[in-house]
Structure formats: structure tokens, C-alpha cells
Symmetry: C2
Subunit: 693 residues, 2 copies
């Protein structure tokens, strides 16, 4: 890496403005200011291609001091606003990482990054890539061999090139070609994934030109046939106007006649949410999308920061060029920049609050992103219930949840991402995978063991989806420990003569590393604060993590896919906190080599006991496609649960008002039905002892 700083014009002066919260994402003004400061450090008319302009979060130590003052209603310390910038000299491979102090206007760092370090893609770029691919003469010649009907529209899905160590130093795109239904060519939303073509141009981002045209294997083995007349199969459309829609679905609405129970306080680019004793701050940035900060329940600190850290989707077809297909949807693109503009009544049901965001564009301007986060309540069934069989009296409350959600479109796939809070102090992170399978052509009449034919001529290769949730705890304080419990059978003995006894044993995780769940031992990980004890049983307050088991990455340990997807081989990674370490796959994932992400950090083998540590919690799906997943797949749902363990002195949802008809307003459908009167069973006799112990 070399440092280049050329000062040719004075840095623009900062206008005095209201100080942002230190964790608030950059404002439009700050975004453009940061870009302008960088531009000013180059000769005029240098065409800079901005890839990332985002907040460089201040050192955690400074932020904690700020948060303490904030919560104590004390004067807050001043913390500089700093921007992190990635940019190219346009159409070169000169990729830079810069840090700009927005308070002073100074460039603190402006480094040319080296080989094998590339930027993410961006929306404007992929449009130009698609154009370059389809206008290339060589590509057109190959397409001509397909002998497609006149007027057929060919589509290019530009894929991040991937890594295999073979002439892959430059930043390239591997374009996969498809066509729209040739007999419905004007339908811009025709499902081109149903008509994949065997031609795959490779484009260099330096020249924005096709440098190679790969032909795809379409048989059972490595054989590549030359391009011949395309066997046009029927289309497979997902648009509603192409279906015989069901006519028997009756409307269902969620009504909150007195409004919602949450409060949103918008403070510029971040917002504070308060709901049912929860309080936290929400931000939104280009890479991570939604980020939650300073999550507290009833004033008690729980999490400093919660965010999706990255996801990796490696594919199973070992043949060129598919062996390189291994997407890092956050690092290669960005969950913020790909977020959907959520539509009232389409994406979200009930009483909905939307948050906007502002991100940067490739020219260093500010780009508004409307409705990228939606917030709403939902009913989640019964929260708890008990009926005393002797009296018949039931005590029941319903579970109300708060949903903070974003939806991202990553070319063919969609992911619906939500943080879900309930009244029992629990937080879920829910991921729904939907959208369209990534497809490739296959000859008729054959099948392969590494994919499923989902439509005539269409192969959907098996792939894994591996997600990494970054959990930075501050459970009643910043020094926490990670432990795991296991349940073991007691051996037979005088104490256990009948062979049925079992006990739970706790082990402290001392060192950074990758750890796994083990259902045969009921191994359960918990974040604990040993300095804060439960008033009932004296155990350390804790939150346990319940994340489903999954098959770890199947790529072998010597492969690029394995080396790059550093989080994909363990259920949990725990590392000592270091400012700036946010992305489990490393900061730069595009065509990466690995070695800069969580596996490398964990290998530092640092103490993580009774200190400030960060967890990366992984969940995944081994997606073996089925015909039902095409043309669009029904949501596949994954959830990570975080639940209090001996953190409270009783069920924290005990004080939720009882579930009653007067409140819930349900309707009885059964006509010949005798519904027992719902009597009020408040006992007017004997008083209760004081509710608190």
C-alpha cells in the first residue's frame, strides 16, 4: 500500500451544524462533504468512482462515555465525525481507502490498496457492465449462433467474478446471460431465469470491456459444446397477470385503532425506538443496512451493537466458471444499498412506520433511500397461559412483538431481514430467503447430483446460504464472558441408583476462536456478566443464544471458498473487541483471498473472558433446490433467538395485561355455537401480597 495525497485545492469549510449522535450514519451533507474533501485532494477533473462513503464509528471507549452521559442526562462529550471512504480513479484499478475527519476537514489517511483488494460492485456499475456485455461484438456473434427469434431480448446478470487464483488479479465481472420469453419480448419483467443461455462474458472493470467469453458446460461433465441453435422451452413467469389467481382468499387486516405502542424519535440519520421497556437506536448504512445500537431493556444495557455481518452463498457445481460462484452479499454489494423501498400495504401489514436513509452514489453525491426500514407491531399468539384446573380460572396474555425489518434484493435473490423483540425480554433475528434461484442451462433429459432441474432446460445448482450475525454485548456492563452449558447423564451410583439423573455443567470460553453447538450434549452458549447476580438464585445474569444447527461450508479447507468465508465453519466465533472489526468475511470480500476476517482475528488467541468481546453467530441453509422453489421460492425461514437467563427476577412478561375480548375484539364465526360468557374473574376478596418479592 502506498500513500498518495495531493493537495491542490483548499478543503471545503465545514458549516456549523447540530452535532450528530456519534453512532448516527453520515448525513447527506456529511456524505457529500467527505467526497468533496477527497476530490479536493486530487487534481481537478480527476474522475473518482466512489464505492463507499460511510461513517467510521468512533472508538467504542469514546462512545461508551458518550452513552453513559446520554443516559444520565449529563452533558455529552464532543466526538469527531469521521468518514470512511473507498474509491477508485475511475476505470483504473487504483483502489483507495481514506479516512476523513469531517469536524476539521482533514484527510487522516488516503491509501492506495494493493493487489487482491477490490471494491464492492455498485448499482450504476452493474448497469454499465450489462450494457458492455450485450454490446460486445464477440458476444453478439456467439448469441447469433443461438438463432434466437427476431427481437429476442437478452439479459445479463452481472456476477462478482469470484476467486480461484487463476489470472484473477484484476477486478472482473462474470456475466451470466439469459433471455426474456422471445414471444413476449416487451414484458420487461419476464422471468429470464427460465431461459438461461450457455454464453458467459467476462468483463474487466478497468476497461469496461469484454476480455473473455466463457461457454458454459450444459451436460453432466466438463464438456463444453460450441454454441448451437437454442432449444427454446416455454417460459415460467411469476408476474400475477400470468397466473390463474386464487379467488377465494378473503381480506385480513391488522388494525390498531389507538395507534401503535411504539415511539420513534427521529434524530437525523438515526432514530430511537421505544417499545414495551425496550429502547435502542437504529441506524442504516450502505454495507450492513439496519444496525441496532445501545439496546436496553427497562434501562438495563444488553447489546452495544447488533448487525448482519455478512452472508456467503457458495455453489456446488465444480465446473468452470461456476466453481467461482461464492457471493458475499454484504461485502460484494451491500445490504443497505440493495434495500427495497417498502410499500405500504404490500410489504408490511398493519400500522407501519417507515424509516428513510441516505447513502452515497458513485459520484460522491447523496442518494436518498426511502422506506428502507419498516417498523410495526404484530401479534405472535399466546405469550403465556396457565389454568388452575381446580377452579377453571385461566390467566393468559398474548405475545406482542415489535418488528424492525428491511428487505434486500441481490440480483436474483431476496432476503427479508428482521429484528424482532417481545415482551419477555427476547430478541430474535429472522432471515427469510426468497426471490429467484440462480440458474444455468442444462441439456434435456439429464440430471446431475449437484443440482436440480427446476424447469425444462434449467438447472438450479445446490448452494449454501451462511449468515453471520454480529453480536456485540454489553450485558449490564462491558466486561462479559461467554460460557456454554452441557447436560450430562449422571453415572449410576448410590446417588443415582435408577440411572435417570442428569446435571448441567458450565464451561467458560477463555480464548477467542470458533465454537460449535452440539445437540447431543444440549450445548447452549450464553453471554454472562459474572459481576451481576440474579437476586433470586445468585447466578450470573445471562442471555442465551439459540441458533439452529446447520451443515458448515462443504468446500474443502484448501479452497478459496473456504478461506474467504471465514465465518462459515463454526456456529459461533468469539473474538476480543477491536474497533473497526465489523465484517466477518473481512472488509474487502470481492475476489478476496481470505485471512482478514473473523477466523484470522480468532487466531490471535486472545483472552475473551471477563472482557469486551464480540460474537459472530452463524446460521445457514443447505439449499437443495426443488421445483417448488421456481420461478420464485416460498420463503425459507431461519431464526436466531436470544433469551434472558437469570437476568430477571421472574417472567418479565408477567405484567402484560391479560388477554381479553374487550381489548382483542375477536369475532365468532361458528353460528350454531354457544360461546361461554367471558366473565371477569377479578377477585374482590383477599388482597395479593405485594407483587414484588
Amino acid at each position: 500500500m502506498s500513500t498518495e495525497t495531493v493537495a491542490t485545492a483548499p478543503a471545503p469549510r465545514m458549516t456549523k451544524s447540530v452535532p450528530s449522535h456519534p453512532l448516527a450514519p453520515l448525513t447527506a451533507f456529511e456524505l457529500t462533504q467527505a467526497a468533496a474533501i477527497i476530490k479536493a485532494s486530487w487534481p481537478a477533473h480527476t474522475d473518482l468512482h466512489f464505492k463507499v462513503v460511510t461513517l467510521q464509528e468512533p472508538p467504542k471507549e469514546e462512545v461508551l462515555a458518550y452513552l453513559n452521559a446520554e443516559h444520565a442526562h449529563q452533558p455529552r462529550p464532543t466526538i469527531s465525525r469521521t468518514a470512511f471512504v473507498n474509491y477508485y480513479i475511475r476505470n483504473t484499478n487504483k483502489f483507495h481507502e481514506a479516512i476523513v475527519d469531517l469536524s476539521s476537514g482533514r484527510v487522516l489517511q488516503n491509501i492506495l490498496l494493493g493487489k487482491f483488494v477490490h471494491a464492492n460492485g455498485d448499482g450504476e456499475e452493474i448497469v454499465r457492465i450489462e450494457k458492455a456485455a450485450l454490446e460486445d461484438e464477440g458476444v453478439r456473434a456467439e448469441i447469433a449462433k443461438l438463432q434466437l427469434p427476431e427481437g429476442t431480448v437478452v439479459i445479463s446478470d452481472p456476477w462478482i467474478y469470484g476467486s480461484d487464483g487463476v489470472n484473477d488479479e484484476d477486478r472482473m465481472y462474470q456475466c451470466f446471460l439469459y433471455m426474456r420469453d422471445p414471444f413476449n419480448a416487451t414484458e420487461a419483467d419476464s422471468n429470464h431465469y427460465a431461459l438461461p443461455l450457455p454464453i458467459s462474458p467476462v468483463i474487466s472493470t478497468e476497461s469496461m470491456k469484454v476480455i473473455r467469453i466463457d461457454l458454459l458446460p450444459t451436460g453432466v461433465d466438463n464438456t463444453i459444446k460450441s454454441v448451437e441453435k437454442y432449444n427454446i422451452h416455454p417460459p415460467n413467469e411469476y408476474l400475477p397477470e400470468c397466473q390463474n389467481l386464487r379467488t377465494d382468499l378473503k381480506p385480513l387486516s391488522v388494525i390498531q385503532p389507538e395507534g401503535a405502542s411504539f415511539q420513534v424519535t427521529e434524530e437525523g440519520t438515526s432514530s430511537v425506538l421505544e417499545w414495551q421497556k425496550w429502547k435502542f437506536r437504529v441506524g442504516f448504512n450502505q454495507r450492513e443496512g439496519m444496525v441496532l445500537y445501545d439496546v436496553r431493556y427497562d434501562g438495563r444495557p444488553l447489546f452495544y451493537r447488533l448487525s448482519l455481518s455478512d452472508m456467503n452463498i457458495p455453489y456446488a457445481d465444480p465446473r468452470h466458471p461456476f466453481h467461482k460462484k461464492s457471493a458475499f452479499d454484504l461485502g460484494d454489494a451491500g445490504a443497505g444499498i440493495m434495500a427495497n423501498n417498502l410499500k405500504l400495504g404490500c410489504d408490511c401489514l398493519g400500522s407501519i412506520y417507515y424509516l428513510d436513509a441516505v447513502l452515497s452514489d458513485d459520484k460522491g453525491g447523496a442518494m436518498p433511500m426511502d422506506n428502507v426500514v419498516c417498523i410495526h407491531e404484530q401479534d405472535a399468539g399466546i405469550g403465556w397461559k396457565h389454568t388452575n384446573y381446580r377452579t377453571g380460572r385461566a390467566a393468559v396474555v398474548r405475545s406482542r412483538e415489535l418488528v424492525v425489518q428491511s428487505i434486500i434484493t441481490v440480483s436474483n435473490y431476496e432476503y427479508i431481514l428482521a429484528f424482532i423483540f417481545n415482551q419477555a425480554g427476547e430478541i430474535d433475528y429472522e432471515i427469510r430467503a426468497t426471490g429467484i434461484l440462480s440458474t444455468q442451462p442444462i441439456d434435456d433429459g439429464i440430471e446431475v447430483p449437484f443440482g436440480t432441474v427446476v424447469h425444462p432446460g434449467v438447472l438450479a445448482v445446490h448452494h449454501q446460504h451462511i449468515f453471520s450475525l454480529r453480536v456485540d454485548p454489553m450485558l449490564e456492563g462491558n466486561d462479559n464472558r461467554l460460557v456454554y452449558d452441557e447436560a450430562h447423564a449422571m453415572p449410576r451410583s448410590d446417588f443415582n441408583p435408577h440411572g435417570i439423573g442428569y446435571y448441567v455443567q458450565e464451561t467458560i470460553v477463555e480464548e477467542s476462536g470458533g465454537y460449535d453447538i452440539d445437540y447431543d450434549k444440549n450445548r447452549t452458549f450464553k453471554i454472562q456478566n459474572p459481576n451481576v447476580r440474579n437476586p433470586i438464585n445468585g447466578k450470573p445474569v445471562a442471555y442465551k443464544i439459540q441458533a439452529p444447527a446447520f451443515q458448515k461450508i462443504l468446500a474443502d479447507k484448501d479452497s478459496f471458498n473456504y478461506k474467504r468465508a471465514e465465518f462459515s465453519d463454526h456456529n459461533i466465533y468469539v473474538v476480543k473487541h477491536r474497533d473497526g472489526e465489523l465484517y466477518a468475511g473481512g472488509t474487502y470480500t470481492n475476489q478476496s483471498r481470505g485471512g482478514t476476517g473473523v477466523r484470522a482475528w480468532a487466531d490471535r488467541k486472545e483472552n475473551v473472558k471477563d472482557t469486551d468481546f464480540v460474537l459472530y453467530v452463524q446460521v445457514g441453509i443447505n439449499h437443495v433446490p426443488r421445483v417448488e422453489d421456481f420461478p420464485v421460492m416460498p420463503c425459507e425461514i431461519l431464526k436466531i433467538h436470544m433469551k434472558p437467563v437469570n437476568f430477571f427476577d421472574k417472567n418479565p412478561a408477567l405484567d402484560v395485561p391479560p388477554s381479553e375480548q374487550s381489548f382483542n375484539q375477536s369475532q365468532l364465526l361458528s353460528e350454531q355455537h354457544h360461546q361461554a360468557t367471558v366473565e371477569s374473574k377479578v377477585s374482590h376478596g383477599g388482597s395479593c401480597s405485594a407483587p414484588k418479592l
Copy 2:
């Protein structure tokens, strides 16, 4: 077993009535008729204690012929109605199993069952047991030693005795004693589990008298102290009037202004439900509660029968008498008889349809059970979505679910049980565990590794909840096979030079037995019909089972707990179908010995390939109590998913109408907010190709 038939009075004549569906539970008339026929086979004035009067389902072969005629609108064959009856000569151990042909009025079988075969408990009996325990002089003497305040009310939770091979031939109850808050003695719903007593009477059901008084160990080891003055800790009430209720929860209602989308056709004691291409029959009986029959989607047969088969809850404390605590909530009691009467607007939200049932009482009479099953729709978030990033057009549908739910109270615990259907051909079985932990006294200031102190003086011992769902498939026909898929990495080779390839391999399960999932291989079980092929890819139609991993029963293989809980050691049991084999723990679980349930059936090692087999799918929780689980626990949720694999020719929910504001009527909460107009994007230009391939 010996046969006793004494004919002293002619059997009552059957009144001619409309024939029931062969799978419909017994009507009130049939219940009383069956009991009367049995009574008539004994000398007049013999006091019979009826334990079970239920339908003996006809042989499957006969029913299938009936169903075929039913679905083809052909004349239906006549099938005899048969009742299965368990009864005692009251206050003896003479326990009988009888089969009564209701059509002819004849007793087909009336057998005295032998040693170690006992009936379930029943509601009337446990009330008498509680009375007997608390009126016993010896028990009163022990209670007196506690020196409780004047007017203290002592409660007895009668527990099924359990098995340990030590003088346990007779049917007994192990009663655990508690007291109500002594300073609020008139509150009949005071949470007595917060005040456990160290005295445990044992009652024989023959004499209905206390035959032994056990004292409970309350320290860390086996030491039993003599009863001394009770250290009265504060209470821990769950009643809403004892809480400082939250005041900031706003109402949330679910409205279906045009009514619900489902149709219920009540046909006596069973009902037919139709909803979004689903059609199935619902019955309800004393042991299993809800049972679903003849489940079809779009007319295609899927499941012959779905039911909860049993659940086992073994406890971890090895000390007498706790070592015997191992409940079989269906076999020992019954999910039907324990079902809650569901209250409109309390238990169920939205537009609700209730089903009633009728069960038998201990005298052979009919007992109406109102509102034991509720049926309603619910919104489940987005069903599928795709946005074409090039045009910005989103296609999105919401997921609507149908819920068929029942709630059971088993003394201290509650289980909320639901079959959930969606529009993508998927069925879930959801279990929520809630209610109150089973508690026992513990001395102050100590802790034990086999339980958690959840309140001063209150120990909640670790325990497992292991559920068994019985799945009798008829996937497009009665001869099915069970297979499992595993995903394996390809070795490096010329075909896989980069080490990233993987493939899926299918294995057929040939023989009955217990099988396990294995996440490290992504082992996934599927029910298949190899005679029916997917039109797209030629693969056999299938449904896969997704059930979470859990720690199998920890009791060792020589223990009674292990031997009795025959389903608790594997994720899946598969056995050849045999009429009458319905209950995975065996027909008679109370104080059982094992050997008559699914493990024994599987050991017959029969062929299960391409034949009529039955699956038992297990899920479980190792419940390590936390303070938050007391006084009532927030629901812990388990789900079994069953999803189509290559059963349909595309996403079966593709024809769900798009999610639109005009239908959903969401409300915008953000005031300063610009919500983009939801434009109708129906393309009036180019037509779609025919929707079907």
C-alpha cells in the same frame, strides 16, 4: 389375561341413526351406548369406573375403500362402528379392555388386563385423590409439624406414581403438597407452586387411602430431614391483579370484514375443513385431542392421519421419590380430556371458529367439551417476493396460514398445540410449552446441578420434554417409501480441481427402526412415492420433514424411564402400518414397563419400502429452568415442518393474489413521511404465454 363375560340383561337395542363417517369420533349416543352395553355384561349394581370410551378406528383397508368412494361421490360401503373401552371394577385393580360392536350391540372382547397394565388418571379421580391425601390423619400430623399459620390451605398435586420396579405393581399416586399464600388463603388461584412442602403422600387407587408418606430431600444430597417448622417465603403470584400491569400496550385486532376464507362442514363429531386447496377431516378424542384425517391438497392425497402420539417429560433429580417423575401426558391422562375450553378473544385473535367435542366420563356418561379446537386464519408475513432491479417492479404475496389449535392443561403445565397450513403446500405442527414449572422444596442458600432455584425455597428440576408426532402418509397413494438425503463434499479431482464441489445422495430406508438427523451431513428425511413422478424433472414426488435436533433422553438404557419412553431415543421412527398401533409409548403408559410401543414395533424389522408405513417424528426441549420461567413460563416454541419436494410443478403459492394496499388496508404512522404512490403495474401491453407449461 382372562375373559369374563356375564350376560344378565339383554344388550340395549341400537336406535337407527344416520351413519357416521367411519373416522368420526363416537357420538354422545354411541359413548353412552357402549358403556351401557358393558354395564349390561356385569351383574346389576356393579360399579364400573370407566377410563376410556373411544372409537376403535376401523381397519385402514376398509377406511381407504370408504374414502375412495367418498371422494369419487360413489355409494359408500357400510362400516361397523366399534368402541374401545377401558374400565375398572371401581376401587379394585381389575382393569379391563373391551371392544364393543355398536352396530350389532355385541361385546367382541372383554379382557381382564394383567399386572403392570394400568389405566390413565381421570379428572374425577384426581379430585378424590387430593381429598384423600389432605384428609389423611398421618398426613395431617406431618403437616402440623410445619407449624403453618392458622387457616393455611394445603394443596395436593396428584402425580402419576411412575415406575421403578420397587413395590410398584399397584396403581398409585404420588402426591406433591404445596400451600397457598398463607396470608391470602381465600385466593383460590394463589400460585401454590411457590410454596412447596416436603411431604409427599402415596395413595393406592384400590383403597383410595394413603399407604405411605414420603418425605422429600431438600438439601444437596439424599438426606431426608424430619419435618420441622416451615420457613415461609414470600409468594409469587401470576394473577393479573397481583401485578403492576403495563399501561402502554395499545390494542391490536385482526379483522376479516368479508369473513374467513375457510369452510367448516360439521358432520356430527367430525368436521371437514376446506381452505386454500387444503381439505381434511378433524376429529377429537380423549387421548389424542385433535386428529386430522384424509389430508389432501388440491385433491391430491397427502396424509391419512396426523396426530400427537404422546409426550414424555422425564426429570433429572435422581433422589427418591423424584426418580420416578416421568410423565406421559397423553397415555397417563389424555390430550382430549385435558383440553381447555377456549375463550373468544382471550385465547384466539381474529375471526374464530370453534369446534366442540364429546367425551366420556368415569360413569360411562357423555361429557360435552365445548370450544376445544379453534380454527382461524393468520397473516404470516411475506410469502414470497421478487423485485426486478432493472425495472423496480416488485411481485409480492403475503403468506396466509390456517391454524387448527387446541390447548391442554396437564396439572401445572400447558401445551398449545397447532396444525398450521399455508398456501405453499406446507404443514407445520407447532408446540408451545407454557404454564408452571413442577417445583419441589429446597433449603436456603444451596444450589444443585440438576435443577435451578427459581424462587426462595423453590427448586425447579431440569427435565426433558420429548414429543412424538405420528405421521401416517398416503402421498399420492398408500405405498410410500422413506428416504434421506445427505450432502457430501466431492473429493478433489479433475472434475473438482478447486475443492468446492458437493453433491446430494439419497438413501432408501428399507427396514423399520429408529433413525436420526445429522446436521453435519444435512441429513433430511423425505416421504416419497416412486410411482408418481414430477412432470418437470422426473423425480419422485415427496414431502420432506424438517424437525429441529434435540438431546435424546438422558436416562440410561437400563432405566425404566428409557424403556418406557420408547420414542425418546431417535429423531424418527418408521414402522410398517398395523391397525391399532397409534401410541408411540404403548397403549398403557401408566406405571408401564416398556416393550409395547414404537421401539418394540420397529424391532420387528419389517420392510418399510414401497409399502404402507407410519412415521413417528420426535422433537424436544431439554428444559433447564431459568428464573424467567417462574411463576409462569413464557412460551417455548417447537415446530415440525413438512414441505413438498418435487410434488408440484412450480411454487404452489404462485397463484396467490398479489399483496396490495387495497386488500390489506395498512396504515401509515410516520407523519412527515412521503410514501410513494402504490402504482398499479399491470402491463397492458404484451400478453403472457399460457400460464401452464
